[in-house]
Symmetry: C2
């Protein structure tokens, strides 16, 4: 129960900012509400430190406290999160088009952006009467295991691709693409055809179609995807409508290639973001 060995092995001297962040970091989909001592144990911080920081975080609104004494992420964080340019902003612009897409196809629609080696879904519209997919707004999945992720990966820098391919690629089903060579081949196909079509990458009963969305300098900034039950009528039939959606959103973001001269006075939202680099999760 005591952790003498650990303490001596890891230098884990933290900066005070890191302590604060490590507290926020213990919350995840499986740990939505935690007690003081839970948090203290999971962060490795002492009780008194944790206690003090929790109070500061709560006072600010980053955490809320329930009647049973447990802490959860507070609404102030939700509010903050919508200010992320690749999140709330992009979502805001894309949402109407995504709604149209959902009406037209009745599938699960995802809007994904890259972070580290993962995709984050900044929107996830679920069809009620189809296969339940394990996706949610704010969800994070490895790029190599989702349709949208593979599209993003395909359009990332060569260097970044190799970095991802060299990392440990988790296998979710026996059809998950994990072989670097197979992936390289697949990504080349995606670049050539402009669309990624995959089956049973994450779960056995689903297949996905995804295409890139481009922003200002025609850089790929996001990807839209549809997930439908395995065995649905040809996924290829979804490509045209997906492509149209992608083009609409890209135009709204100001992508040069998507702007038609005869487009008329169609309002083009000026996207605040200049460019967000694909960054490796390692940081530093």
């Amino acid at each position: 129960m005591t952790v003498l060995a650990d303490k001596s092995l890891e230098p884990h001297r933290l900066t005070s900012a890191q302590r604060v962040l490590s507290i926020l970091g213990v919350f995840d989909t499986e740990n939505l509400a935690l007690s003081l001592s839970d948090i203290s144990r999971r962060t490795g911080l002492t009780l008194s430190t944790t206690h003090r920081l929790l109070n500061e975080l709560r006072r600010w609104g980053a955490l809320s406290r329930h009647s049973d004494g447990k802490y959860s992420i507070g609404l102030r964080i939700l509010e903050l999160g919508t200010l992320a340019p690749q999140g709330g902003q992009l979502r805001e612009i894309a949402l109407p088009y995504l709604h149209d897409l959902q009406h037209a196809t009745r599938g699960n629609i995802h809007l994904g952006v890259p972070e580290g080696h993962d995709v984050i879904y900044v929107e996830s519209l679920r069809a009620r009467d189809t296969v339940p997919v394990p996706s949610r707004l704010g969800g994070r999945w490895p790029m190599h295991a989702t349709g949208t992720g593979l599209v993003l990966l395909a359009h990332a820098s060569q260097e970044f691709q190799e970095e991802v391919l060299a990392s440990k690629l988790r296998r979710y089903t026996d059809r998950t693409l994990t072989d670097p060579d197979a992936l390289r081949h697949f990504l080349a196909e995606v670049r050539k055809s402009g669309v990624a079509i995959v089956q049973s990458q994450l779960t056995y009963d689903a297949m996905a179609v995804a295409v890139p969305i481009r922003g200002p300098r025609d850089r790929v900034v996001a990807a839209v995807g549809i997930t439908v039950p395995l065995g649905s009528p040809s996924p290829h039939s979804l490509v045209p409508v997906l492509a149209a959606t992608s083009r609409s959103i890209s135009r709204a973001l100001g992508a040069p290639s998507a702007v038609t001269d005869a487009g008329g006075p169609r309002q083009t939202a000026h996207w605040q973001v200049r460019e967000v680099k694909y960054s490796n999760s390692a940081g530093r």
Copy 2:
């Protein structure tokens, strides 16, 4: 330009946690991307401190940095925000019903929860072909100025209500309810009728209808509202469908009063939250 007076007046010694939070706090809808010196100025922190903290925040993913050197809120925060029980969780459960509601009414739909003296919209579905309302996911508005806010206020504790009524109530239009007595009367009406119907509270060209959503101990935990253009056919006609939506969501949250015996094996999501207190923004 210099702030000598301020510095001497306020003791503003900050804790290190507060410094971190104050950096996050400078981002808002008007300041989505800020430079190091912007942030330094707005927080009052020195350049070197700001610089160090920004790097730590960026490394963790709380902030991202653009090609022009400016910082924005990062996706990790968006991801975290969806873990807020009153946010992501509630939204997840309510979303299908809200979609139905939108189909049935073609209005702007809001799902609001209380925070401090404000409502936060944890979902905002906009109708494309109607009056543009200044609302967005994650948006924050004073309770007294929105339909959903008034519903939440009406069902808050007496003490909390008086606290809000005693505060400075901003007037957005000349029809915004700001008189404490008029508000007390209105809130009593809302409790009695179970619905709030208001006009031109926030903007002149809109009216709103809102009803409460109840959770576990039959406490009011959220409110759904529809906003339609001023002059639409009787807003009263929206009440039944809104009430039905509210009831469905309340049942899904486990509200005793919404559970019908003959309801069948309808799946009732167990809501993680026990209870979240209405808290005054002052903290401490």
